[in-house]
Amino acid sequence: MATDNLVQIDRLTFGYDTSRVILTDVSLEFPRGKVVAIMGLSGSGKTTLLRLIGGTITPQSGTILFDGERVDPTDIDKLFALRRRLGMLFQFGALFTDLNVFENVAFPLREHTDLPESMIRDIVLMKLNAVGLRGAASLRIAEVSGGMARRIALARAIALDPELIMYDEPFAGLDPISLGITANLIRRLNDATGATSIIVSHDVDECFQICDYSYLISSGRIVGHGTAAQLNASEDPEVRQFIRGEPDGPVPFHYPAKPIEQELGLPG
Amino acid sequence: MGKRNLEILVGLFVLLGAVAVAFLSLKAANLASFSLDSTYRLTARFDNVGGLKIRAPVKSAGVTVGRITKIVFDDKNFQGVVTLEVDRRYQFPADTSAKILTTGLLGDQYVGLDPGADDKSLQANDSIKITQSAVVLENLIGQMLYSKAAEGGSKKKEPEK
């Protein structure tokens, strides 16, 4: 029986060891066909969530369900089967530097399918075309720019037409044109293929433009979630500080330090 | 770099390495001069094997005809038993003698075979009956000193007569 949510995270707690707990008792839902954002400050645990969904790390407690089934990193076969149904776009592309553009996009096809060369060629060119880089197929990775690298990585992530596409900071460091292209691509791809997308980002404006729903994480907990309108109207001080980009609030401006009078040796 | 070109170059590299190994084995080492499995085994007993080592050559008329493969001690006769592997091409008469000789003055030791006159030849696993042990330098010096001392003694006696 197909569930409404492609991915469901229930009461998840994770830490690399007992002193460094990254996520505490978080629950998230990712409905099929929707684009959902996970926002928060750097180091709040956003990327860790992606790794947990992909099964590279194991939670201390709580469950992660993918299409109704538990994500179990100890069951290698099931894990690999799961990973073939998802595509992940890493922050700087993570393209294989020893292969050229074409070979990078063809990689998942070569590794997981027995398709003939001619079909692989067609698929790769179509995927590159979807991201607007069909003409760059024969370039070496060293020759492509940062924005291009991310688009090629996107083409690679969708090579096997995954049901779930995860984006790790897809907007970080892009110029306005590339930003527009990327946001556009994410939304169009999601709708055209019927996939579900999860975007980890701290770019509030772009996320609100293309996402159906958003979660806001701070210090390993969910401090707010909802549609763009709901979050904009939120009264929660942490949510407000993040959404509006206020320099000081629940997240302090000053790094913890002694009072300045003490440091400068002033009386009082 | 086309895949085919790369594979050709790697193949060349492997070939070059193989040629190097062949060169070293044949030109620098002794692979060519001695074939391995066409040998037959003989044994010889010596009172003293001296500095003979395994893989030392077995020579006859100065030509290498075999190798030493084993040296063990026989605690019944208190002799050293040496196993020789001799090239099958060469037959030796049954009364061939084996001597332990030294290359040069202070070099490695080897076994020299002096052929006898018997019609019958040594067969595999036969044992060489006549052997001469190695010359041990210390014994030689001891002999020399002893004979010098004896000479000196007999010289002294003569004037008395």
């Binding site: 992909g54 590279t56 894990l79 690999f80 089967a81 990973r83 073939r84 998802l86 992940m88 890493f90 922050q91 700087f92 993570a94 393209l95 294989f96 530097t97 020893d98 990689f107 998942p108 590794e111 997981h112 990585a153 | 895949k3 790369l6 594979e7 170059l9 790697v10 590299f13 492997v14 070059l16 390495g17 193989a18 040629v19 190097a20 190994v21 060169f23 070293l24 084995s25 030109k27 620098a28 080492a29 002794n30 692979l31 060519a32 001069s33 080592k53 395994i54 893989r55 040296i71």
Partner: protein
């Protein structure tokens, strides 16, 4: 008194850390061995690596081999000519190269050229999340990236060492026979008389395989464990050269005492 306790605690912690990294390294080594069959099955990947490790090292190996062989020949001549044994130059050079200098120098040059290249490559791949991306695409990076490089290193080392020794002998020939004027026939016959295929050539090859395993393992491990920063990768390459060299020299000592003992 508590100072002593602190010192002991620090020492204990140090020892535990050492044991831990030793265990970590051993497990990494075991993973490399475990995925070797996968590398052999995807032999096309291994071939690409043999090119990068072997072919691209040929220039330095050949030049070094020729130089070392030539210099050895020269020095051997000076030393042996005193005792009228100049004809033994070939034998001396061949034994030195086959037993020691060939395997050891090739391994050290290998660590410097191919080893650092491997370390930097793996380090950068890890830093750029390439290995994590591969894992997410359900391809095990140990079998696809690490094991082929491991196998390629083990295959390339004996070949490079043989080439080094062969070129070295040729270099000594050029110096000794062509330049100095030693009799060519005597040069070769003295050599052939004294060099044993199994003891000298064979043991030399065994040494290079062992060195290849050690040097390649060290290179891959330091790269894999490097910090994901430019300084981290640079430090890792330095560590590769140092650890590989020490490992090779220690192993050489152990192997030599095993192989070339004076017992029959």
């Amino acid at each position: 008194m508590s100072k002593v306790a602190d010192l002991l605690a620090a020492l204990g912690a140090r020892v535990l850390r050492l044991l831990r990294s030793l265990g970590h390294a051993s497990m990494f080594f075991w993973e490399l061995v475990r995925f070797t069959p996968a590398a052999l099955r995807r032999f096309d990947l291994t071939v690409v690596q043999i090119y990068g490790i072997g072919n691209l090292s040929l220039v330095i190996i050949v030049t070094s081999g020729a130089a070392v062989g030539g210099v050895l020949g020269l020095q051997a001549y000076y030393a042996l000519d005193r005792y009228g044994a100049a004809e033994q130059v070939g034998l001396l050079v061949a034994l030195s190269l086959l037993r020691e200098l060939g395997p050891v120098l090739t391994a050290l040059l290998f660590a410097g050229r191919a080893g650092t290249s491997l370390t930097a490559e793996i380090g950068l791949m890890k830093a750029g999340e390439q290995l994590a991306a591969m894992e997410m695409m359900a391809v095990d990076p140990r079998g696809r990236v690490l094991a082929p490089r491991f196998v390629a290193g083990i295959v390339s080392m004996p070949l490079l060492s043989a080439i080094f020794s062969a070129v070295g002998v040729a270099g000594a020939y050029v110096i000794g026979v062509k330049l100095i004027g030693i009799d060519a026939a005597a040069f070769w016959s003295q050599m052939q008389d004294g060099v044993d295929v199994f003891k000298d050539v064979g043991n030399g090859i065994v040494k290079t395989v062992v060195f290849g395993v050690a040097a390649t393992f060290v290179a891959l491990y330091t790269g894999y464990e490097s910090e994901a920063t430019p300084e981290g990768v640079a430090q890792a390459t330095t560590r590769t050269v140092v650890f590989s060299s020490v490992a090779v020299l220690v192993l050489d000592f152990l192997l030599t005492s095993l192989m070339f003992s004076t017992k029959p």
